[in-house]
């Protein structure tokens, strides 16, 4: 997981270098870029949380099909993280 985060940070640094003129001397990344990074990290966290919930939900559904609805809702619950993280984009942008 940490590899993925590092890779993301590196690419964001590259993007930031592309628009180097727009940056103040001590800034390595634009505000928008930072907001995008925040959303990305939130999505990563949500995905990781869904991994466990999803496999438990599939287990429960395999035993009892009537749990499909509950399982689905529980599985997508961490998705709220990403939606909340999107707020940051509007605050910054």
């Amino acid at each position: 997981m940490f590899d993925a985060i590092l890779a993301m940070v590196e690419t964001s640094v590259l993007f930031a270098q592309g628009g180097i003129d727009a940056l103040t001397p001590l800034q390595a990344i634009t505000e928008n870029g930072m907001a995008a990074l925040a959303v990305g990290l939130a999505a990563l966290g949500a995905g990781y949380a869904e991994r466990g919930i999803g496999s438990a939900a599939i287990g429960a559904i395999a035993e009892d099909e009537s749990l499909f609805g509950t399982g689905l809702i529980m599985t997508v619950l961490p998705e709220t993280l990403v939606i909340l993280a999107l707020v940051v984009v509007f605050l910054v942008g």
Partner: protein, 353 residues
């Protein structure tokens, strides 16, 4: 053959979700109360309406009465435990298999006993429980073996190979099965705690502790039986390594005297859990009650662990124990009814928590 190589990490979430559902299908007090009032054929009919339906229907034409119940129970147990091994990946598989090898030991012993008594392959096969790690083909080859020597050779590459080969010499001299059976049991129990798991953490510590408790209880049970029977046996010969309660020398000394032994257990770490059982043992002088109390204590402890550590091997283990108890209980009821015991007598044979 001894351990399937599994890749990836453990899938605790998936296995635990399924196990919890299956756990909820186990019989409760209410069911047992109903069963206690039934005869063997009624029990079979009752089981047909529960999750044993498939097995009862499949075996209904071949067996009847108590045999039908017994075979259906075994087959259902095998189905569920096989599922556990099928679902589990990575370390979780190893942890579950470690415990379920009990059934490998059981099967090996069944085959050896069958051959010793001259039963044919079909009879032996019907008594096997396909729940362990040995697959069906391998067990078929075992049952088709012509002699005990062949079985020992077939098991050569498994964990039972070396101890069995050593014991076979004894067997040839004395022509009694005890050395062979001891070798199988001993390699099972010693395999329980061998190669301590790689991942650490509180749940894993407790898992190890739990297995130690199992070994301790087994030692205590053996010692009590030897002490009670008054037979001139060396308890050290039946001692299982790995527990924390007894050392080999202590056990030989203690098993000569029931009172000393129960005081020793009372002062140990298990004292709190077993006080009632020990009081009971001293009062009624009955080993059965005490042994059931040991089972109940293990069951309760495993239940407790499964609530404290929901994402570990503990819930699976608790399920395995509970299922085993259920099968034992139903069997006890059916056999008890067949033998004409009263409800109270049968009830004292049950382990219900």
């Amino acid at each position: 053959m001894s351990a399937r190589k599994t890749e990836g990490s453990s899938n605790y979430e998936y296995v635990n979700a399924r196990v919890r559902k299956r756990r909820s299908l186990l019989f409760d007090d209410e069911d047992y109360r109903k069963l206690l009032r039934m005869g063997p054929s009624e029990i079979a009919r009752y089981m047909e309406e529960t999750e044993y339906e498939e097995e009862i229907n499949a075996l209904g034409s071949r067996y009847g009465g108590v045999d039908l119940i017994e075979y259906a129970l075994n087959r259902n147990l095998a189905k569920h435990f096989d599922d556990l091994l099928r679902w589990a990946d990575g370390e979780l598989y190893e942890l579950i298999a470690r415990y379920l090898r009990k059934f490998d030991a059981w099967n090996v012993k069944t085959v050896i006993r069958g051959l010793y008594s001259g039963a044919d392959a079909d009879t032996i096969e019907s008594d096997l429980v396909y729940a362990g790690e040995f697959d069906r083909q391998f067990l078929d080859r075992l049952t088709e073996a012509g002699s005990i020597e062949e079985v020992v050779e077939l098991l050569d590459r498994t964990r039972y190979g070396d101890p069995l080969a050593d014991a076979y010499a004894d067997f040839e001299e004395t022509d009694v099965l005890v050395p062979l059976e001891n070798a199988v049991d001993r390699s099972y129990y010693e395999g329980l705690l061998a190669e301590t798991p790689t991942s650490s953490g509180r749940a894993m510590e407790l898992y190890v502790e739990f297995l130690q408790a199992e070994i301790d209880f087994r030692n205590a049970r053996n010692a009590l039986r030897i002490a009670r029977s008054g037979a001139d046996l060396d308890p050290a010969e039946y001692f299982i390594e790995g527990g924390q309660l007894f050392r080999e020398s202590e056990l030989s000394q203690l098993s000569t005297n029931v009172d000393e032994l129960s005081t020793f257990i009372r002062d140990s770490t298990y004292g709190d859990d077993l006080t009632e059982a020990l009081d009971d043992l001293e009062r009624t002088d009955s080993l059965i009650g005490f042994e059931h109390a040991l089972d109940a204590a293990l069951l309760e402890y495993s239940d407790h662990l499964s609530h404290v550590f929901p994402l570990s091997v503990c819930p699976v283990l608790a399920y395995v124990l509970a299922k085993e108890r259920e099968v034992d209980n139903i069997r006890a009821i059916a056999r008890g009814r067949e033998a004409g015991l009263t409800e109270d007598q049968i009830e004292s044979e049950l382990v219900i928590t």
